[in-house]
Symmetry: C2
Subunit: 217 residues, 2 copies
Amino acid sequence: MNTNDPKIKMPHALITIGRQFGSGGRELGKKLADAFGYKYYDKELLSEAAKKAGMDPGFFEKNDERAPSFINGIFSFALGLTPNNIYTGSTSISDDSLYRAQSDFIQSLAEQGPCVIVGRSADYVLRDNPRTVNLFVHAPMDNCIDRIISREPNLSRDKAKARAEKVNRLRSNYYNFYTDKTWGAANSYHLSLDTSLLSMDDITEIVREYILRRFKD
Amino acid sequence: MNTNDPKIKMPHALITIGRQFGSGGRELGKKLADAFGYKYYDKELLSEAAKKAGMDPGFFEKNDERAPSFINGIFSFALGLTPNNIYTGSTSISDDSLYRAQSDFIQSLAEQGPCVIVGRSADYVLRDNPRTVNLFVHAPMDNCIDRIISREPNLSRDKAKARAEKVNRLRSNYYNFYTDKTWGAANSYHLSLDTSLLSMDDITEIVREYILRRFKD
């Protein structure tokens, strides 16, 4: 099987991407969607899609991959974070029902066709769907700092590192609270990759190979 | 690039495999070595190689991926394991110097050419070598139990599960004690895969794709 032939039609798959902050999850997600002809969703695009569907436009911003307030309160306290790190969204519905509404919306998007979804514990939301391909991407901290600074050149390396650590903690709290798995543990995902050793184009082709072999039928 | 052409010569790589018990790490390792023309080493073959080199034949059995006695003593006690689970090898050298000797031996094998090494925290031993490809393989517990029972048909599912959990704890203690990384965490490895969703032949081709793309020069 020559799986490298770009003319091969990609099978139906739902790619979810978990990622360490600064490891290039969104960049990879966009590339995969582009290369495979899948739809792409991250926080902004999920918000937009929710808006189009007539829902609250702040729908995905409000519950920004943070565990419910009391959990982050405990963690923030323990970690010595300042109070404005704590989720204080003024939504009128509870964190839990917001999470459920987001999950229902992700489910409805997945029913519309193949797509790439970055974050939102979409792997867990879509866990009963056999077409999911759950990716996790990571990179050594120095590489993550490089990528963060390339987006925000005025940031010092120390500040970029502190931000990466904080966002990773929030993502981990959110994921571990809402799922029965552990964020960043290899066995929570189908395929995990270090993004510092290959170009995003090469990683795209490795994921293509994975999908073509997994969904041969 | 048609990376699926089996006639393409595989570049020099040192594949290390970390694995959950029952997830097929050895089976995959043998397949990779076979398909790529690399040497293959697991515990038995490392012992044999050590013997050939004129070293103690029990060299690799004695320190069987267990952290030093006092560490396992603590864990065994906490887990209610029986005393014979605790490492009590009657070697005259300390666990630490045994680990160092094993590491030196793995280094010397790696210098002889491309190879696949299963276990022994070989990823950490060879961490300064840019040709390492550090894999971790895992599978849902039910699949691991299936594989364990296929090797030992008289084992009950409960006993197979208990063994998998115990061996995973020992591997984790060993790895976390001797390295600065976390066993089973995606970011401790370059590429992690769930072996329950693809055949070992397909996984072999995905790893081939990975290696050909990573070492293009």
